[in-house]
Amino acid sequence: MTNEEFITIIRNWFPDVEIPEEDSQFLNVFVPKEKILEVAQKLRNDEVTKLDYMFNLTCVDWPEHFQMIYHLKSSEHGHMLVLKVKLENKENPEIETLCHLYRTAELHEREVYDLFGIKFINHPDLRRLLLEDDWIGHPLRKDYVDEINIVSL
């Protein structure tokens, strides 16, 4: 499916998603936080889109907000799409988990929870993955300070 077809079909299904017109590698779709599960479910299960392979899940810590980024691909059709979600609340960021749709999300979300402190609602086993359970802070946040191990240049 081409990007134009994607834009038409997604705007049709979900009028409140934002698809900026920009020259980027993948088609970026900005989804409101509350809608992410619904949008992902539709895109994954519908025969036309069938984005059933999540090849990447990550988070970016921007100065004003967190941004969740989901890279999706269809194993059958081969088209790709990126879902982006803005998490405005920097104090207590929360988002619905996608691990019931994509099994790979379970470990990836635990990693994001560990390193960014994003809370995934309804995640079956949300614990730290790489760091110890009693670690303080979330190292990939930009405001993380560790005077002993991180040498700033």
Binding site: N56, T58, H71, S75, R103, L107, E132, P139, L140
Partner: protein
Amino acid sequence: MEQNVIMNPDGTQEYFVNMGPQHPSTHGVLRLVLTLDGEIIEKVEPHLGYIHRSIEKMCEKDNYRQIIHLTDRMDYLSAHMNNHAVCLAIENGLDVEVPERAVVIRVIMDELTRISSHTLWWGVMGMDLGAITSFLYGFRDHEHITEIFEETCGARLTMNYNVPGGVMFDLHPNFVEKTKAFIADFKKKLPEYDTLLSNNVIFLERTKGVGILTKEMAVSYGVTGPAGRASGFSCDVRKHEPYSAYPNVDFNEILYTEGDTFHRYKARIDEMWESIKIIEQLIDVIPEGDFQAKTRNVIKLPKGEFYQKVETARGELGVFIVSDGKMNPYRMKFRSPGFSNLSALDEMARGGKIADLVATMSTLDLVVPDIDR
């Protein structure tokens, strides 16, 4: 011990056993917590982070040239491919044209790496199942390739040979001759692998029908590489999103539908034949010319996001750069194949025995630094 026991309704007891972090078959410091009912595995829970070095955080402080050598240390058996992935992502951002010579050199190096990684995996796989001989055979062939690398790159394991715009040095004058000699030799050696393991009755008993992963689950867990393709998930990045010289070479994507341990094994053996095919096509036609395009000393990527996929020996490696226009990335993420492949281990091992878990884990070909990063 008392606390570790849970009573099942039918009178049997569930208990936990730690496998690793110091266990020979986990190939590194990976700790699995097994929930067992007798010898039957109920659940496998990986505990990671024993060699987490926060490479992603380090990348945010480093400039783009400094990042490349860090990726050697992730999946150290696919060092060339990891470097290649980062270089391609940077070149995408810079819009640099890589000279033809460098493109071909990179692909030959990638395929040699794939063979060396698979030979090592094959030896270790035999050893995991109790056959020491294969370990020696595997290392014998692995060693020839490391020698070829050493001559050209100056290093045997963490080569750091790719740079943005091409490769660091030109090929060593012996390279073509030695590679050809190796390929000719290896074509005779590879059938030995089949004689020793692939057709061995004990080996077949241990692997056929064990640790089955269906295609749906492979897609859902994001299991890529030979492990995913053995389940019928067509995911070869070299075919689907070809990069470098791959569009111009003729090779097959190995696909099986069974998804058991034996076919994951078979997929890797077949992949070595395909790699031989690719090297043979390219080794005689390495173009003359520059091996490196001119790039600025200080690399600054434009604002934006750059994603590059590369097929490593273990599967799909994704390099994701978020740039804010400075000389170091704002955020760098490595989607490592081992991480996703490991997540499916629970699915494959459930209902089997511990000995089957060892066989299954071997065919996932886990490299722990790649998982922890």
